[in-house]
């Protein structure tokens, strides 16, 4: 790192906008929003970073690191533009990938089609070998069958291969040997993923699918990261690039190229990390994050400053409720993800009256093109944003600081024609109904991460961000009887801010899958210690000093016979099974409402979470700075409609800095560069010492 390299840059790519934020050792965070360059995202990034540095009067050498959230892996899957990929499996199991877990996400739909497998049957090859569940070799690897497969996949011209053999989590030697032979015969250009390297965990479909996703996106992600590094280098930006993972930690660009399956939910994770950091600064660690953008709303839960995680994720499944009950619509990746539940309700969500006469918001979206009707660029179907304009919540003259002007009349007309008239409601009641229904829909996303896990949302504060989060946040909180909503500074680019506060994080795992009464505590402790060695080695290789590394022990436990594990944290000094059991019984009761202290318990996995905390001393207060809002003398109250109970009220328009520690009474609307915050009647709003708008509900 060059001397004087003092600043960090966060880069968050979305479908429409790329958000770039800059943080120095002191002073405010600077933000920059530019249009994404979809043909080659790296081009827009480099331009945007240079503009931001110029505006700040900084030279490229002032940048110490770039932290990046990217959609390149996700898009490769969604658009089916990954590398041509082959799969090598144990003889008899060629179709595991295509059979999946059979279940589908819809009922009563005879026209349903499954997602096509990422590796077609003709590119799935079997080799003769067999491991047992304890890692014992039942049939030695038949190397001739491997060579035959290697020749076939070479002839097919694939760019990548995934290798997933049965029980490789217990003994990876066959997979490694297959990889060696294939590499020798096909060459170093072939992208290879061994399933035990990416996910050494029991359950063949999930492991196969994860390895396949990794290989499928691997070459694409590597090419992208190389191109980004080259472009940055040409602009004299040679600071290290770190990539946000789906688990909320960051990894080096090199690691991301090896394990791209870890970065598919990069962007949503960043927003949650920003909230987690906010929680720690506030000194109360229980927060539900609520990120509402243009097409979806996302929620996650943070307890004691730690975001809850899940390993049940499907990419490309369309939008569903944290994909827990409803499965099979996408491609499974069983890696640690921040448990973000997503639902198809955003600013661009289309509002319609369905065949049953019911009012629906989303999941179809008008997106950025043609966009809401009020954008006046071709949209013809009413959207959530159109309703917000009709209600008087969103200022038609001041979107993105006034750079986009909205046609409010058009919005009102389409809402009257398509919604109010068919439902026999007034225009304002119809628009307010849209607000209510969107909030009701979005509460499901919040419930999926709270009540569905046995957590009561009333014990949490809601942090609302994203372009539309501050508009709808209070209504969502109200529907769940939550008492407090926080709107952080720069809510529209808050996810990018999260990049600056992320830690380096890696998880190391070993499957036991045994009843605890068949195990010895010292063997389990030895496994933890071995994972620690591996963790330290990996992080040192990434350039971190041993003393920076924080380690945590986690155990995945379940009652014998259950299919789903609960993760409990373990003290690192000595391993006591009784204590582990107690923690598990307690967590089980909390999550599911029942416990069975006498029943046998399985230890499924032990995990070591290794973390390097960065920027621990970074002042969060810096966020409070904001670009200038509308001039004071231009602002007069605007009529806004708050439902039949309150009617239309001439509502004061404020800037964030007009708020103070002493609360004001709602209604009020806070207009900012990139978001609008609605404070309905009956709420109290103040500004806390960190610059957050703090809204107390009645």
């Amino acid at each position: 790192m060059a001397a004087g390299a003092t600043h960090s840059i966060g880069i968050d790519i979305g479908g429409t906008f790329t958000d770039i934020v800059l943080l120095g050792p002191s002073g405010p965070i600077r933000t920059h929003k530019i249009s994404s360059t979809a043909d080659d995202f790296s081009r827009g990034i480099v331009t945007g970073v240079r503009e931001l540095l110029d505006a700040a009067g900084l030279v490229p050498g002032a940048v110490a690191e770039l932290v990046h959230a990217t959609t390149v892996a996700t898009n490769a899957i969604l658009e089916q533009k990954g590398a041509p990929t082959a799969l090598i499996t144990t003889a008899g199991f060629r179709d595991v990938l295509e059979m999946r877990r059979l279940r589908i996400p819809v009922l009563y739909d005879l026209q349903y089609d499954k997602p096509a497998p990422l590796v077609p049957r003709r590119l799935r090859f079997e080799v003769r070998e067999r491991m047992g569940p304890r890692g014992e070799i039942r049939i030695p690897l038949d190397e001739a069958s491997v060579e035959a497969a290697a020749k076939q996949l070479q002839a097919a011209g694939v760019e990548a291969v995934a290798i997933c053999l049965l029980h490789s989590y217990a003994n990876p030697t066959h997979e490694r040997r297959v990889a060696d032979i294939v590499r020798r015969l096909v060459g170093d250009d072939l992208y290879i993923t061994c399933s035990a390297d990416i996910l050494p965990e029991i359950r063949e479909y999930e492991r196969t699918s994860t390895a396949v996703v990794n290989s499928y996106v691997g070459p694409v992600v590597r090419r992208y990261l190389r191109s980004l590094a080259n472009r940055l280098a040409q602009a004299n930006l040679d600071a290290p690039i770190r990539i946000m993972q789906s688990n909320g930690g960051v990894m080096t660009a090199g690691s991301a190229g090896d394990k791209p399956a870890c970065i598919v939910e990069s962007g949503p994770a960043a927003g949650v990390i920003a909230c987690a950091r906010l929680a720690r600064h506030l000194g109360h660690g229980n927060i539900i994050s609520f990120d509402m953008g243009g097409t979806t709303a996302k929620a996650a839960i943070i307890e004691n400053g730690e975001p809850a995680k899940t390993t049940e994720y499907e990419v490309g499944a369309g939008i569903n409720l944290s994909s827990k009950l409803v499965k099979g619509g996408g491609y499974a990746i069983k890696l640690p993800f921040i448990d973000v539940s997503e639902i198809g309700a955003g600013g661009g969500s289309i509002v319609a009256v369905d065949s049953a006469g019911a009012l629906k918001v989303g999941p179809r979206s008008a997106g950025a093109m043609p966009g809401p009707v009020c954008y006046d660029i071709g949209g013809t179907e009413p959207t959530f944003t159109d309703a917000m304009v009709a209600l008087g919540y969103v200022n038609p003259d001041y979107l993105v600081g006034g750079t986009v002007r909205l046609n409010a009349d058009k919005a009102r007309r389409v809402l009257a024609d398509r919604i109010a008239r068919p439902l026999n409601l007034s225009l304002l009641d119809a628009a307010h109904g849209i607000y209510t229904i969107a909030a009701a829909t979005m509460t499901r996303a919040v419930k999926a991460v709270s009540t569905y896990r046995g957590r009561d949302p009333r014990d949490f504060a809601l942090v609302a961000f994203g372009g539309n989060g501050p508009v709808a946040g209070v209504e969502v909180a109200r529907a769940l009887k939550m008492k407090r909503v926080l709107v952080p500074p720069a809510p529209g680019v808050f996810s990018a801010v999260g990049l600056l506060f992320s830690d380096i994080e890696h998880e190391f795992l070993r499957t036991f899958f045994r009843r605890t009464d068949e195990l010895r505590a010292q063997d389990v402790a030895a496994a933890f210690q071995q994972l620690e060695v591996e963790a330290r080695r990996t992080l040192r290789r990434e350039g971190h000093a041993t003393e920076q590394i924080e380690l945590r022990w986690l155990a995945d436990l379940r009652y014998s016979g259950q299919a789903y594990e609960l993760t409990v944290a373990m003290p690192r000094n000595g391993l006591d099974f009784d204590e582990m059991h107690r923690a598990f019984h307690g967590e089980h009761e909390r999550t599911y409402g029942h416990r069975s202290d006498g029943d046998p318990v399985d230890l499924v996995n032990v995990k070591v979470l290794a973390r390097v905390v960065r920027l621990a001393a970074q002042p969060y207060e810096g966020l409070a700075a904001e670009p200038a809002g509308p001039q004071q003398d231009e602002i007069r109250p605007r009529d806004a409609y708050f439902g039949a109970e309150h009617g239309t009220i001439a509502t004061p328009l404020l800037r964030r800095r007009d708020l103070a520690a002493a609360p004001i009474q709602g209604p009020a609307i806070v207009e900012e560069y990139d978001a609008t915050c609605v404070i309905p009647p009956g709420c109290l709003a103040s500004l806390d010492r960190l610059g957050n708008i703090n809204i107390e509900l009645d």
């Binding site: 059979l102 999930e206 439902l423 009540t451 409402g593 069975s596």
Partner: protein, 590 residues
């Protein structure tokens, strides 16, 4: 809308109800102990209103949506008036309590609000063992229900909040798997508590009185949508006969005869002509027949119809007593599922005559049951597999392979978990080439699944079907491949009946292989685009020989390209040789 119902509140309440039912389903899925619940998802959750009518259902088994009304009927008739807060009902009795078969245990909790019942939280789960003559309690060779295990009539598992300890002890002592069964009951109880909490939240928020018209409107809306749909179907009576291969070593074919009568906005499904009940455990008590019929009609309408009971009002099911679709006690019924799935198939076959674009050719025929049990290290083990896998083709689309039956939504159990927990090796699991019915649109491929025994002694039972009466194709499509049960495949193999009337002893090293039936095709195979056939050949889903013999497509085996000229000739020859196509097959392929 006639009553004072605000469309916004209506949508909010509807959303709230389905979210509660889903949350109940999630609790069972994640905390249940037995594989058949947790992986196969053979369970169901629902909320009922104060009249005992379903108002929301968790997204689990399609065919189970109709499973609660029969049970709720008895609760409403016999218990509701005297129920007290803290009561929880339990039953599995198919004759007089609304149960389906003994492994399916219902746990239902009335939800009290201000001293009155305002609704019910309902759960049903297939338990891994409730005793009886064979591990898994689904043996087909039982000849009356008393051989099938513990029968629980409608009783209170909790009485005013107090657990019925006698009943818990009786259940514990009558199963081979007490930990699993009691664990799964706990999961059901927890789901009921969650359902109760969620429903009470809604009642408090909207007010019990104020919410009632919305609940009524929900039922009426579903009914209206269903009637609107039925009105679009031309009036008439549409008949179809499908078959069950029959039981034992010398099977007698069983008939499922259905007449679907559409009159205005109502549908009657009459099963008169169906075979009499038999002395084997495949008789299907009426609750599941209701379910299967509702599910079939539901599948040809819009998935947007709310998941509540109103939609079944325009549907009437007539099943003569004493038949395999409405047996009288003490008919055995543990392996009755096949009948429900076949009724579904038969209704599809009938409707194909009038709404051919909305139906599906026959799939694998419903799950194949396979239970294996034995002793390992002094502990008893049982594995129950509910194997599903393929759809028939649709008008305009191929069938789907590697998928649950449309009337179910089951999952498979991971091979690695089975091997890690039990003395079994899964030798193979995958698709079977050439098993999909040929057609312009190809039926889904069958699957095979194969187990090797790694302990000294074990016994297994199985119930398959559709070996002799293969899944029918539609509009000229061919039937799918037939099923097979094989012991020790190879030169010395033994074929088993589809429904063996005995437990089969297995020794260390023995292998059981099941090959499912394949999906039926749709439309004339000679009209399938040669490129589509070539793609299937390249994926080894269709062999070169089958491409030529069944599709008339000649493919160069080296270059894997279509020989257009040879194909045109071959297809012409085949067309000439073919008999003129019948107007519409009224019977399933034999």
């Amino acid at each position: 809308m006639e009553r004072a119902v605000d469309p916004i509140t209506f949508e909010v309440i509807k959303n709230g109800l389905s979210s509660v039912a889903d949350e109940m389903a999630l609790i069972i899925m994640r905390s249940a102990y037995s594989p058949v619940v947790r992986d196969s998802m053979d369970y169901s959750t629902a909320l009922c209103d104060r009249h005992g009518q379903i108002i929301a259902q968790g997204l689990t088994l399609a065919v189970q949506l109709g499973a609660f009304p029969d049970g709720m009927h008895y609760i409403m008739r016999d218990e509701a008036a005297n129920a007290r807060p803290g009561d929880i009902f339990i039953f599995n009795d198919p004759y007089g309590s609304g149960g389906q078969h003994l492994p399916d245990i219902y746990v239902i909790k009335p939800i009290f609000h201000e001293g009155r019942i305002e609704g019910y939280a309902c759960t049903m789960a297939h338990h891994s063992d409730v005793g009886g003559i064979a591990p898994g309690s689904t043996a087909i060779h039982a000849t009356d229900i008393h051989q099938e295990g513990l029968c629980i009539p409608l009783l209170k598992l909790y009485d005013a909040g107090q657990p019925n300890r006698s009943l818990f002890r009786i259940i514990e002592k009558n199963t081979r798997q007490p930990i699993q069964v009691l664990g799964d009951l706990k999961a059901q109880l927890a789901a009921c508590a969650t359902g109760e909490r969620g429903y009470l939240d809604l009642l408090r928020r909207h007010g019990a009185e104020a919410m009632r018209p919305y609940l009524e409107e929900l039922q009426d809306q579903a009914e209206r949508m269903m009637r609107d749909f039925i009105r679009q179907i031309p009036d008439g009576a549409y008949e179809f006969v499908d078959y069950i291969d029959g039981v034992g070593d010398d099977p007698q074919t069983l008939r499922i005869q259905v007449k679907v009568t559409v009159a205005g906005d109502e549908i009657a499904i009459d099963l008169a002509g169906t075979s009499r009940q038999v002395a084997a455990a495949i008789n299907c008590p009426i609750a599941m027949i209701h379910s299967a019929a509702y599910c079939a009609i539901r599948c040809i309408t819009s998935p947007a119809i709310p998941n509540c009971e109103g939609y079944i009002r325009p549907i009437r099911v007539i099943a003569p007593e004493g038949t395999i679709v409405n047996p009288l006690p003490p008919a055995a019924c543990a392996a009755r599922g096949v009948m429900g799935y076949r009724v579904f198939d038969a209704i599809m076959g009938a409707l194909a005559q009038v709404v051919p674009n909305r139906v599906i050719a026959a799939g694998e025929g419903g799950p194949t049951l396979f239970s294996i049990g034995g002793t390992q290290n002094g502990r008893q083990f049982v594995l129950t597999e509910v194997m599903v896998g393929t759809w028939g083709a649709r008008a305009g689309k191929d069938g789907v392979e590697g998928i649950s039956n449309p009337a179910a939504n089951l999952s498979n159990q991971p091979v690695e978990l089975i091997e890690a927990e039990l003395p079994l090796e899964v030798v193979g699991y995958g698709l079977v080439a050439d098993s999909g019915g040929a057609g312009k649109f190809r039926g889904g491929l069958a699957f095979h699944r194969e187990f090797r025994v790694l302990c000294d002694d074990a016994t297994c039972t199985t119930r398959a079907d559709r070996r002799d009466h293969r899944p029918y194709g539609l509009a000229g499509g061919e039937p799918g491949g037939g099923s097979q049960n094989i012991i020790n495949p190879g030169a010395q193999q033994t074929g088993l009946p589809t429904m063996p009337m005995r437990a089969i002893p297995l020794r260390h090293g023995d292998v059981f292989r099941h090959i499912s039936a394949g999906g039926g095709g749709y439309g004339d195979p000679l009209e399938r685009p040669p490129e589509a056939v070539l793609e299937d050949v390249r994926d080894e889903k269709v062999s070169l020989a089958a491409a030529r013999e069944r599709y008339g497509v000649v493919i160069d085996p080296k270059r894997l390209t279509v020989d257009r000229e040879a194909t045109a000739q071959r297809r012409q020859t085949m067309r000439k040789a073919a008999k003129p196509a019948p107007a519409q097959a009224l019977q399933a392929a034999k």
